[in-house]
């Protein structure tokens, strides 16, 4: 029976949860720490923090956030965003991250993954792929969706696997934040071409969206963003920069199927997908 772990993907900017659509827009939904803690208490299997500004500013500012989170939650924490050097990885692990993901840097320096795997082990190093569909073709994106790359997707997957990376995290960015459901075509391409575990997500808006994945074999996890965040809105936001218009007013609304982590897990179990309950 397929076993899935549920990962909460939390896009972060200045300690705040932000959520865009198709990687555009950085609407603030609350405090990252509070969201992570809430998800932990409600039974999420893993937290994935993604720093959306790190690649641009040339640094990963999550250290403080990770330290604070690790004091209160006792499930794996994976981090990504602007990871460039072995020192970056070391600092993140030392702050309490369990695994570190790389994306943009790999396009500039292909050796970084094998160096990181050698230093930290393959189970610690993962590769995030932001994949978008344009005119029926799939492209890889870097810098939080700002730049399109020309590499062939399948060749890229094989190359990264050869470097010894432990897992893939795949985001269908043309679906991300839309709540429209999974891109099954992309999911099947991934399933058919990887030989390491992977986490898939982007667009999951209803429990029903997860119905048909039980026939897959290599998928190891599903990540959830909007479907969780909009059900857990927390009006605790700071005075930091950010688009807090949604939180501040009652004018902007968001329709999303009522869900929590347990309801999603129950649905998985009912559909013959094993998960931790």
């Amino acid at each position: 029976m397929l076993k899935i772990r549920l990962v909460a993907k939390i896009d972060v900017k200045d300690h705040q949860v932000v959520k865009g659509v198709r990687l555009e827009g950085l609407r603030v939904l609350g405090s990252a720490e509070l969201f992570a803690e809430k998800y932990f208490l409600e039974g999420i299997d893993e937290i994935f923090y993604h720093d959306v500004i790190a690649s641009l500013l040339g640094r990963n500012a999550l250290l403080e956030l990770i330290k604070n989170t690790a004091k209160n939650i006792f499930i794996p924490i994976t981090v990504s965003g602007g990871v460039r050097t072995l020192k970056d990885i070391y600092n993140l692990l030392n702050s309490g991250a369990d695994r570190v993901s790389l994306n943009s840097e790999v396009f500039k320096n292909k050796n970084i993954i094998s160096q990181a795997v050698k230093e930290f082990g393959s189970t610690t190093i993962i590769n995030s792929m932001d994949i978008g569909k344009i005119n029926n073709k799939y492209f890889l994106f870097t810098e939080n969706g700002k730049n399109k790359q020309e590499e062939n997707l399948i060749d890229w997957i094989k190359k990264i696997q050869d470097f010894g990376v432990g897992e893939f995290v795949i985001n269908a960015i043309h679906k991300d934040g839309t709540l429209e459901g999974i891109d099954h075509e992309l999911l099947n391409i991934i399933e058919g071409n990887v030989n390491i575990p992977y986490i898939f997500g982007g667009g999951i808006g209803k429990r029903e969206d997860l119905k048909n994945i039980s026939s897959l074999k290599k998928i190891n996890g599903i990540f959830l963003s909007s479907i969780l965040h909009y059900n857990y809105i927390d009006k605790n936001y700071s005075d930091n920069f950010g688009n807090t218009a949604f939180l501040q007013s009652n004018i902007f609304k968001k329709k999303v199927e009522k869900n929590n982590i347990q309801s999603i897990k129950s649905f998985l179990k009912k559909n013959k997908i094993e998960c931790r309950v």
């Binding site: 659509v21 198709r22 990687l23 555009e24 827009g25 950085l26 609407r27 500004i53 641009l56 500013l57 978008g132 569909k133 344009i134 005119n135 492209f139 994106f141 969706g145 700002k146 730049n147 399109k148 960015i173 043309h174 839309t178 920069f241 950010g242 688009n243 807090t244 218009a245 949604f246 902007f252 968001k254 329709k255």
Partner: protein, 399 residues
Amino acid sequence: MKKKIFEKQIKLLPKTIEWCKSCVISNARPRIFFNKDGICFACENKNYKNKIDWDKREAELIKLLDKHRGNGSKWDVIVPSSGGKDSGFVAHQLKYKYGMNPLLVTWSPLKYTDIGIENFDSLNNSGFSNIRFSPNGIVQRKLARLCLEELGDAFHVFVLGQSFFPLNIACETNIRLIIYGENGEVEYGGDKNLYNKSHINLFKDAKWVSNYLKGDSSIDGLLSWGFKNKGYLKEKYFNQSDLKYHRSPSHRDLKKCGIDRYYYYSYFKKWIPQENYYYCIDNTGFKSKLDRSEGTYSKYSSLDDKFDSFHYYFRYIKFGLGRCIDDAAHEIRDGHISREEAVTLVRKYDGEFPDKYFEEFLEYLDISKKEFWKIVDSWRFPNVWKKQNKKWVLRHPIK
């Protein structure tokens, strides 16, 4: 340096370019004003949005709409629209929140992008009638070239229609209420006399209108000069009726129809472009691009025209201000990003050459690459550019 007689804004270029300490606009932007602390007027007033009683403004809006609301059997408000997120927001709110019957009016882009067509259709399919006009292609292309050479902006020919086509339709359909989205001067920092004004008065604010159009509200002066001086502009191609919508209706016609103004929705609602994006995603099927627009980091603004980026590129050449600066400055004032982040974005993306549609642009204008670069260089002025190691660099890059 060839004299540029039609682009009146160029004369007002400051000798030394300075940057706003709060946002990333420079004093080179036409109609901008800096206070003694080196802060631009738009930033000085950035908090004004938080001080406004928006309930009161909404009451004003409802009062205005009540005056014009039809009984459902006819259109009662014109919304100039490209199919983008801003006009989509305005149209949808007017119809579904305030019970109006908008007619969307679209002046075709120079060359449609795929996503532009998609978004146009999505908005149309959300329940809106739309009158879309495509100007005579030959006229448009020759005018575009003329504008590029003499105004430093091929896009000007689009701006004319964008400004005047809705007015013409208003006259022809007798719809007296016209509502645009954002007041660019308020949102991007321009004429301080326009703050706290819900509308532009076509007769009283005529000076502003002409300033907005690079100093000349009419295409005619430029055109007749062009017939005399440009080999590719033959009067025989130019049927006056093809230029009807590039011009404002006459004052007499406007008065006859009872139209003396157009409104800005951004006066009545707290205008946050990013939230317009989210709104349209939920309500009109709007989609952003996946790859970012050239010259900036954003993916949801002005997506419909392949040649739009050349408008910004030439603005960068003329004033040292590209597209990223507008996006970033707006976001700083909205409190979305810090100046540090904005400066990083500007250094990274502003002035990026729009390579994607370059070949198509040349073909559209019927000029060679060599001619293109000659035109570009004719718009480099010494207060903005200097040569360093045989390369053009900004004399005063952002600080």
